[in-house]
C-alpha cells in the first residue's frame, strides 16, 4: 500500500506536507474521516485540502475535487456518502429550497436505558453537526421547473435510522405534497427503524406509507431514490412504494442485513447480493442513476409524470 501512496503523490505538483497526507489507514467504513489537525498545524502553509482514498479503485482523491464532484470518485465513479444538505444543494435550484420542521428533535419517549442512553446519544450526534437535528432534512424546493416536496436522509445521524422525527417530518412533507398537488421525492439512506424509540419507530413505517397512499390517490408522482445503504424498516416502507424507484450505482439495499441472512440460512450469498445492480436484475429498481446525473434525470422523469396533469 505504501508504494502506491507514494506513486500517487508524485503526480501531485503542490508541495504537500507528508505528515498530513496520506490518509489514515482505512477503517471498516468506506468513508475515511479526515484526520484531526492540531491547532498548531492549522497554519496557512498547510495544504487546503486532504486526501481521501477511494475504497474501490484505491486512488487518492483530493478532498476538494471529491466535494466538487458530489462525492463521486472522479476516477472510478465510486459513490461516497454525501450529507443531506450537500445533496439538496446538488439537486435544487439556487435559493429555491425552503426547509420545513428544521427544528424538530427526537425525544427519549421510552426513557431507553441500556448500554448507552438514547438522550446521550442524541446529544452527541447533535453536537457533531449543528446542521443536522435528526436523520432527515425536508422541504419544498424547485428542481428544474418542478416544485417538489423533497426529503433527504442523512446516514451520518444515528445511521440514518427512522424514529418519530424522521417519520413525522416525512409524513408532513408528503402531506404538504398532497395539499399542494406537487410530486414527492425522498432520497433514502438508513440502517432501518430506530431501536431506541421502540414501537414508535415501527409505526412510522405505517404512517409514512399511509401518507403516501393519500398522495398516490391524487395521482401525484412519488419518486424514491435509494442510496448506499438503505435497509430494513425504510426498505419495508416508503422507500419501496415509489412510482419510480431509482438507485445510485452499487448501493447496498435490502430488508435484512447480509450477516443476518447468512446466519439464518447458513447459505452462501450470491455475487453482488443486495446491490443496486442485483436488485435491478431482480425487478425492484426502475433505473440506476449516477449522482452526477441525478438532477437531470429527475427533471426528465418529472417532465413525463407531470405531463398529463399540466394538460388537464
Amino acid at each position: 500500500m505504501a508504494t502506491k501512496v507514494l506513486k500517487r503523490k508524485s503526480v501531485v505538483t503542490d508541495p504537500v506536507d507528508p505528515a498530513v497526507t496520506p490518509p489514515p489507514t482505512p477503517s471498516e467504513t468506506t468513508f475515511l474521516t479526515k484526520p484531526k489537525l492540531s491547532s498548531k498545524s492549522r497554519k496557512r502553509d498547510m495544504p487546503e485540502g486532504l486526501w481521501t482514498k477511494c475504497p474501490k479503485c484505491e486512488g487518492l482523491i483530493y478532498d476538494k475535487e471529491l466535494d466538487d464532484n458530489l462525492k463521486v470518485c472522479p476516477k472510478c465513479g465510486h459513490h461516497f456518502p454525501i450529507g443531506a444538505r450537500e445533496r439538496i444543494h446538488s439537486l435544487v435550484e439556487t435559493c429555491s429550497f425552503e426547509e420545513i420542521d428544521a427544528q424538530m428533535e427526537s425525544v427519549d419517549v421510552l426513557k431507553f436505558t441500556g448500554a448507552a442512553s438514547y438522550e446521550a446519544k442524541l446529544a452527541a450526534y447533535r453536537k457533531k453537526s449543528s446542521l443536522l437535528k435528526d436523520a432527515v432534512v425536508t422541504g419544498i424546493g424547485k428542481i428544474g421547473d418542478h416544485r417538489v416536496a423533497l426529503g433527504v436522509m442523512d446516514f451520518a445521524f444515528l445511521g440514518g435510522s427512522m424514529g418519530s422525527v424522521v417519520g413525522e417530518k416525512l409524513t408532513r412533507l408528503i402531506e404538504a405534497g398532497t395539499d399542494r398537488g406537487i410530486p414527492v421525492i425522498i432520497i433514502s439512506t438508513s440502517g432501518g427503524a430506530r431501536m431506541y424509540e421502540g414501537m414508535f419507530s415501527l409505526m412510522q413505517m405505517a404512517k409514512t406509507c399511509g401518507a403516501l397512499a393519500y398522495h398516490a390517490k391524487q395521482k401525484l408522482p412519488y419518486i424514491s431514490v435509494l442510496t448506499n445503504p438503505t435497509y430494513a424498516g425504510v426498505i419495508a416502507s416508503f422507500a419501496t412504494v415509489g412510482d419510480l424507484i431509482i438507485a445510485e450505482p452499487e448501493a447496498m439495499i435490502g430488508f435484512a442485513g447480509p450477516r443476518v441472512i447468512k446466519d439464518t440460512t447458513q447459505a452462501e450469498l450470491p455475487d453482488g447480493f443486495q446491490t443496486s445492480e442485483f436488485l435491478q436484475k431482480h425487478g425492484l429498481i426502475d433505473t440506476i442513476v449516477s449522482r452526477k446525473e441525478m438532477k437531470e434525470r429527475l427533471i426528465y422523469f418529472l417532465d413525463f409524470m407531470g405531463a398529463g396533469r399540466k394538460a388537464a
Binding site: 431507553f112 424514529g163 416502507s237 430488508f255
Partner: protein, 353 residues
C-alpha cells in the same frame, strides 16, 4: 352451509386431530418454561398423591391434602403470573404449546375455508387465510402460522413469511374489500424471513405495499397480536382500525435478542432489551400503541386455549360492531389519524421574526 369433516383446507396437524381441549392441556403440561417450574413441581406432587393415596401426611385427611395442594398450585400460579417480567412474557409468547392462528380459527371462528396462493409465485404456508365466520359475521381472516413440530415448522417456515405470504395476504384483503367483508388479521411471527429468496423477491416491497394498501381498504380491519409481533413482518398485516394484543403477546420493532446483540453486544442481555424496548401488552397500552389488551387465563393462553379463544372472539366482535357503526369515510379518516398520531417529537417554538 355445513363444512365437510376433514376438509383439506386445514392441514391435518397432529394438534388439530386432538378431540378436546383437555388433552391439549395435558400435552401442554409436558412442556414448561423455567419460571413455571414451581407450579410444575407442585402439580407432580399432586399427581403422585392422587395415584398413591396411602402416602398422604398423617395429620390431615387425603382429600384435605389434595385441596391444600390445589390451593398451593393456584397461589403459586397467581404469584408467578401476576409478576411476569417482559422477558418471561416473551417466552410465553413463544411457548411451543401456545395456540396459533389455526387454533383460534377452530376455536373462535367457524366455517373456516382456507384460500391459497398469491397468484404470482406460490402459496406461502407461513400464512393462512380465507373466509370464516366470527359469530354470525362473515369475515376474511389472515394470520401467520407457526408449526408445532419439526415437520410442520419446515412447512410453515417457523411462521416467518416470504414476500408471497404478504402478497397472498393482500390479495385476500382486496378480495374482502371488494365484497365488503371485514378483515381480521392474527399476528404471530418472529419476523419476515431473512433469506436470499426473500430478498430476491423483495420482501421489503411486499410489506411496504401492504402498509400503503391497508390504509385505504374500505372494510373494517382488526389486527390481533396473538403471540409474537415481530417487527415489519408483523406490521405487514397490522395496519388496522383496531389493534388488539393478547396479554402475554409482545409487539416489537426488533427482537430482544437482536436489540441485545446490537446495543449490548451480547445476546444474553435480551431480558434487559425486552424491558427497555417496552414491548409487552401492558406497556403498549400505556403508550397507547394498542387499542385493547385481551386477558389470558392465569398461566397463559396455552393453559386454556378455549377460554383464550372465547375472550379473543368476544373482543373481536365487540370492536367489529363498534367499527361497523361508523360510516366508511369516518373509519378511514380515523384509521389514518390513528397511525398519523404515533410518535413523540420536540419542536422548539419557532423564533419570532
Amino acid at each position: 352451509m355445513k363444512r365437510p369433516e376433514n376438509a383439506n383446507c386445514v392441514r391435518p396437524l397432529p394438534f388439530s386431530r386432538l378431540a378436546g381441549v383437555s388433552k391439549f392441556v395435558a400435552a401442554a403440561m409436558k412442556h414448561y418454561l423455567e419460571f413455571e417450574k414451581p407450579i410444575v413441581e407442585l402439580q407432580k406432587k399432586l399427581e403422585e398423591l392422587k395415584l398413591h393415596p396411602e402416602q398422604h401426611s398423617l395429620g390431615i385427611s387425603w382429600e384435605e391434602e389434595i385441596r391444600l395442594l390445589e390451593r398451593k398450585i393456584e397461589d403459586a400460579r397467581r404469584i408467578i403470573f401476576t409478576n411476569l417480567t417482559p422477558w418471561q412474557r416473551v417466552q410465553l409468547a413463544r411457548h411451543p404449546k401456545r395456540p396459533y392462528s389455526l387454533d383460534y380459527l377452530r376455536l373462535a371462528f367457524s366455517e373456516f375455508e382456507e384460500l391459497h396462493g398469491d397468484r404470482m409465485y406460490s402459496d406461502d404456508r407461513a400464512f393462512v387465510g380465507g373466509f370464516a365466520k366470527l359469530g354470525d359475521q362473515k369475515v376474511v381472516v389472515i394470520g401467520t402460522q407457526k408449526g408445532r413440530e419439526t415437520k410442520e415448522n419446515i412447512l410453515r417456515n417457523f411462521g416467518s413469511g416470504h414476500p408471497e405470504g404478504y402478497r397472498k395476504a393482500l390479495r385476500l384483503m382486496k378480495l374482502a374489500d371488494k365484497f365488503g367483508l371485514p378483515i381480521i388479521t392474527l399476528i404471530d411471527t418472529a419476523g419476515a424471513y431473512p433469506g436470499v429468496g426473500s430478498e430476491e423477491r423483495h420482501i421489503g416491497e411486499a410489506i411496504a405495499v401492504n402498509l400503503r394498501e391497508m390504509m385505504l381498504l374500505e372494510v373494517p380491519i382488526i389486527a390481533a397480536v396473538i403471540g409474537e409481533g415481530g417487527s415489519g413482518g408483523a406490521l405487514g398485516i397490522g395496519v388496522a382500525d383496531r389493534v388488539l394484543i393478547l396479554e402475554n403477546a409482545y409487539y416489537s420493532v426488533i427482537s430482544p435478542e437482536g436489540c441485545a446483540a446490537i446495543l449490548w453486544k451480547d445476546r444474553s442481555a435480551s431480558p434487559k432489551a425486552a424491558e427497555a424496548l417496552k414491548i409487552t401488552a401492558n406497556h403498549l397500552r400505556e403508550l397507547k400503541l394498542v387499542d385493547d389488551v385481551v386477558a389470558e387465563p392465569l398461566g397463559g393462553a396455552h393453559n386454556d386455549p378455549a377460554a383464550t379463544a372465547a375472550s379473543l372472539g368476544s373482543a373481536l366482535l365487540r370492536h367489529l360492531s363498534e367499527l361497523q357503526s361508523a360510516p366508511t369515510a369516518d373509519r378511514l379518516r380515523a384509521r389514518y389519524g390513528k397511525f398519523r398520531a404515533f410518535g413523540h417529537v420536540r419542536e422548539p417554538a419557532a423564533v419570532a421574526a
